[in-house]
Amino acid sequence: MAASFSYPTAPGDPFVEFMRRSAQIKDEKLAAAIPREYFEPRPWRGLLGFAVSWALYLGAIVAMAFSPHWLLWIPLLVVAGLGGWGLHCIAHDCGHGSFSRSRRFNVAIGHIALLPLIYPFHAWRHVHNMHHAHTNNLELDTDWKPLPAAMYDRMPWWDKFVYHATRTWAFWGGTINYWRVSGFRPSFFPKREMRRDVRRSIWFVLAASALYFPPLVYFTGVKGLLLYFVGPWLATHAWFSATTLMHHSAADVPFLTSEHWTKNAGRLLLTTDYRYPRWLLFLTHNISVHTAHHVAPPIPFYNLPKAQEALKRAYPGMVRERDLKLSHLWTIIRRLHFYDTESGFYTDFSRGQVPPTADGGRERRAEPLRAAS
């Protein structure tokens, strides 16, 4: 039975090459490549981001209320979602303690910034820390971890349905599923202090909900609830899911068992950054400058581009950057479904091996490796 976790069973050249790069940086102090002054928070700059995202979120909702035609709701929901997602990115800095030097202030802003998602801040923060501590670890990562097909086959039908949906057509609901599984469940967390934090955040979300939802429904009806809260909530999750899925899933980026995984590989080699247009970088608070963030989570978002440049100079060819194209997301939801226990990369739902290349073999059709059993 012990052999069941000795994956991959048939590592090919791409896996061997990955492990060579991983060994190369194993003992490096990666964060030392980033100048110390980039770690210094400027709370006013953070608050500007916080205000911009609230303005975007609330502005889009007000615009929906006065919209002359319902067709305008759709682009306005995308904008509201972008505002809500920007707020999440602010809470993200708060969670890493990089919003300000005051822990209390960070916790307060973090709780408020996650209200559009009704996400208990500490629950999100502790799960996110687990993701940082085990990025792309097949056993211990908390985000978008692919399952081996054999494990999927043994799951109950509902779990299968959720897994199948959130890795394909309902990818936008992936983070809703994480919220459902860990947001309101203190027992998810190993440490007693974590469970205490999480219970407090749950109370905060419940109190805010009790104050906000009854008047919202009273004055605007169920339609108002759907349009002014549920719609933007779904749209925010769509941004949240798409972004986080794309950061750590690529046909040529493996998930690793603990035997092969190292802290430094998790920090430097297992993230894909996307080059956003400037306006999108501004509105998402540089969330796509993600490798520097994984190397040094205490860096405030406005210093990440400079930090990333420093990292690229120190480790040429190691930071993965791609242009932002919808085709990347398309490849992920169309092909990257299961952890391939043979290669260490991916297979799709029909058990066809996905070539570990930058485009996931979009040009060619891979042959199924084995019969779907």
Binding site: M1, A133, K191, R192
Partner: protein
């Protein structure tokens, strides 16, 4: 509210390999419904009829004891009480006893 009813046995004493082994033994005895004295620490969890759902629950309960995240597949990787204790003791650098 939000506090789960304790269904698992309390962990008693300091975290040592011996206490961990004792907790696992008692926990397994509770699960399987046999006296503690009849538990063989060298026998696999699977042979006691523990399925994957229980294995995940046990690793979840263990997380609370060792206060760190553990692989849900832990009981498959270390399939006996002896193997699991040895693994956790090495991983957490535990003393055998106080």
């Amino acid at each position: 509210m939000f506090k789960r009813k304790k269904r698992t046995r309390e962990f008693e004493g300091p975290l040592t390999a011996e206490n961990l082994r004792r907790w696992l033994t008692e926990h397994l005895a509770d699960r399987v419904g046999i006296p503690v004295a009849e538990v063989d620490t060298g026998r696999t969890f699977e042979s006691y009829g523990l399925d994957s759902r229980v294995a995940v629950q046990v690793s979840g309960a263990l997380e609370k004891i060792v206060e760190r995240r553990l692989s849900p597949g832990l009981l498959y990787e270390h399939p006996t009480i002896d193997a699991l204790t040895a693994h956790l003791a090495a991983e957490l650098r535990l003393a055998d006893r106080v």
